[in-house]
């Protein structure tokens, strides 16, 4: 099973001061699978994302991406499983990577509160993602020695925008796009990185039912076209239950359920802890 997993997170815990934001979270995402992480507000979903992408260093745990351990803090003596706060520093083995390095290994993400380069044009936003994979150095770029490479980047970016229905806006300021299109652009920008795994942090937040429906189709189309794994945080149950292969449920930093959408919908814990709450709020 682990051979076909693009992402494996093992026993992740994250402590902020005295608060245990994530408690022993283990998840995996298959190479061509759509996996969703759901849970009430403040359950620790975005923190989990930030641990996986390298923005935070988890207090304990290990993240294996594409067969390599990218982040981890685990005991050298593998027998000890639960060592939170009990093990001296010299007995902990640490692996750390900066977010940019993890991205270059093939993990791309979007942000909950859209983070586009607002003053740059739509196409420039995509071109920036293409930069690190381009075969060029600063001299060839300045002196325009490698114009075929530049042309290739431009063509590929246009293609991506075309697929996302953004081509007509390519010269607009990214910050001036309507909200829904900004979300789409953020996804396009992440795809421009040629990722093996795409992490979407609440892609449907703030969208109306029509837009959400389109997004649902888009996400499964991306999975099929690009043959990549998708791991997303989402609140819209229609979207989650409609396209996810598997769903994880997080509550107070702890995993309370895992399974196919059908299983989750019928899981008592989940109904108690999560779905019930949502209905009350609604």
């Amino acid at each position: 099973m682990s051979k076909n997993n693009i992402l494996i997170a093992e026993h992740i815990s994250m402590q902020f001061g005295g608060v245990l934001a994530i408690n022993d979270l283990s998840i995996n995402v298959g190479v061509n699978e759509i996996v969703a992480l759901i849970g009430p507000n403040g359950a620790g979903k975005t923190t989990a994302f930030n641990c996986i992408t390298g923005i935070y260093e988890p207090t304990v745990g290990k993240i294996v991406f594409d067969g390599h351990t990218v982040i981890g803090a685990f005991p050298k003596n593998r027998q000890k499983k639960d060592f939170l706060g009990t093990l001296p520093e010299h007995e902990i083995e640490r692996v750390s990577n900066t977010p940019d390095r993890i991205t270059r290994k093939g993990m791309a993400r979007t942000f909950q509160n859209i983070r586009l380069f607002g003053n740059l044009s739509v196409i420039e936003n995509v071109l920036i993602a293409k930069h690190t994979n381009a075969k060029q150095n600063v001299f060839s770029a300045v002196l325009r020695l490698n114009s075929s490479e530049e042309k290739r980047m431009l063509e590929e970016s246009k293609e991506l925008l075309d697929m996302q229905g953004l081509i007509e806006y390519k010269d607009e300021r990214a910050g001036s796009l309507p909200y829904g299109l900004q979300r789409r652009l953020e996804i396009a920008r992440a795809l421009a990185l040629d990722p093996k795994l795409l992490l979407l942090d609440e892609p449907a937040a703030g969208m109306n039912p029509q837009e959400t429906h389109e997004l649902t189709e888009l996400i499964s189309k991306i999975r099929d076209d690009y043959k990549l794994g998708i791991f997303m945080i989402e609140h819209h149950m229609d979207l989650v239950m409609g396209i996810s292969d598997r769903v994880y449920v997080l509550d107070f930093g702890k995993l309370i359920a895992e399974g196919t959408p059908d299983e989750i919908q019928n899981n008592e814990h989940v109904i108690d802890a999560y779905l019930g709450v949502v209905e009350e709020n609604a």
């Binding site: 902020f16 930030n50 923005i55 942000f111």
Partner: protein, 293 residues
């Protein structure tokens, strides 16, 4: 170097450190609240020197000193009102540039009004009184500076910790937006902060220039930068930090000059800054801030 010279240098260093500490507090207070390096602070300090020259020309020192302090305080508040307040919601870089602009303006204004030639600083007879202890001789100002610094800092900390205004200041420095929503009158707090900072810079100016005796329009720029560094070393936003930083710089600089490297005494400050930023960017008393993604 014999023991007497050593003690003499120690006194000089501590005294210089005291003056630095008083100026550094101004930086720390303003940075704590507005997250702004008030580049003009050193020039306020310089202007206080000129105020003193003119005040002392027509009145005795005990009237001149309060008048100078009031004038300096007014100048500081005025600068905040005209140059920083309109940019309250502007990007930080704009505000910083405005601060540099004010500094530039004050220097040019001083050059225009008082010429670029150094002017003699009036001596206050009481402060200049020479005290001889065994074979150690020093003027009273050298002894008064550190003592006065400590007293003033004590009062300031009491003010910040105990008074209602002080509580508001701490609230604003912790979270500007929330403080505003809680009904704290931000503008008044900011004005008050600038008033405090400028008042202390005024006192620092009297102590500093009494020891140096000459003043010219650029006298404030380098001490100003150094005092900002002192504030950073101590941990920007922390009042005791600014004091400790001021003393470290004052003593270190004097020691370097005594060892014969006076050309490097200015560079020393910045070397210290870089080292500090590398080792502990938050300074000696600073708190760590977490960025939320």
């Amino acid at each position: 170097m014999n023991f007497t010279t050593f003690l003499q240098q120690c006194l000089t260093g501590i005294s210089l450190g005291g003056a630095y500490a008083l100026i550094a507090i101004g930086y720390t207070l303003v940075y704590g609240i507005l997250r702004l390096i008030n580049f003009a602070h050193g020039d306020i300090f310089m202007m206080a020197g000129y105020f003193m020259i003119f005040a002392m020309a027509v009145m005795p020192w005990y009237i001149a000193v309060p008048i100078v302090l009031i004038a300096t305080t007014v100048l500081g508040v005025l600068i905040e009102k005209t140059a920083y307040r309109p940019l309250r919601d502007a990007p930080r870089m704009s505000v910083m540039i405005s601060a540099i602009g004010v500094s530039y303006l004050l220097q040019n204004l001083a050059t225009y009004l008082f010429t670029a030639l150094p002017k003699g600083y009036p001596s206050i007879p009481v402060l200049k009184k020479v005290i001889v202890f065994k074979n150690l001789s020093t003027s009273l100002v050298t002894l008064i500076t550190p003592v006065l610094t400590i007293i003033l800092v004590y009062l300031l900390i009491a003010l910040v910790n105990k008074s209602k205004t002080g509580m508001a200041m701490r609230a604003v420095s912790r979270d500007y937006e929330t403080a505003r929503l809680m009904g704290i009158k931000i503008d008044r707090i900011v004005s008050f902060t600038f008033a405090m900072g400028s008042l202390l810079a005024g006192i620092g100016s009297i102590l500093y220039f009494t020891d140096r005796m000459t003043l010219y329009p650029f006298s404030g720029s380098l001490p100003g930068l150094k005092c900002f560094v002192a504030a950073v070393i101590g941990g920007i936003g922390s009042i005791p930090g600014a004091v400790v930083g001021g003393f470290i710089l004052g003593i270190g600089e004097t020691a370097l000059a005594a060892a014969g490297y006076s050309t490097f005494s200015d560079a020393f400050t910045f070397v210290l800054l870089i080292i500090m930023l590398l080792v502990k960017p938050t300074g000696i008393f600073g708190e760590k801030a977490v960025d939320k993604v």
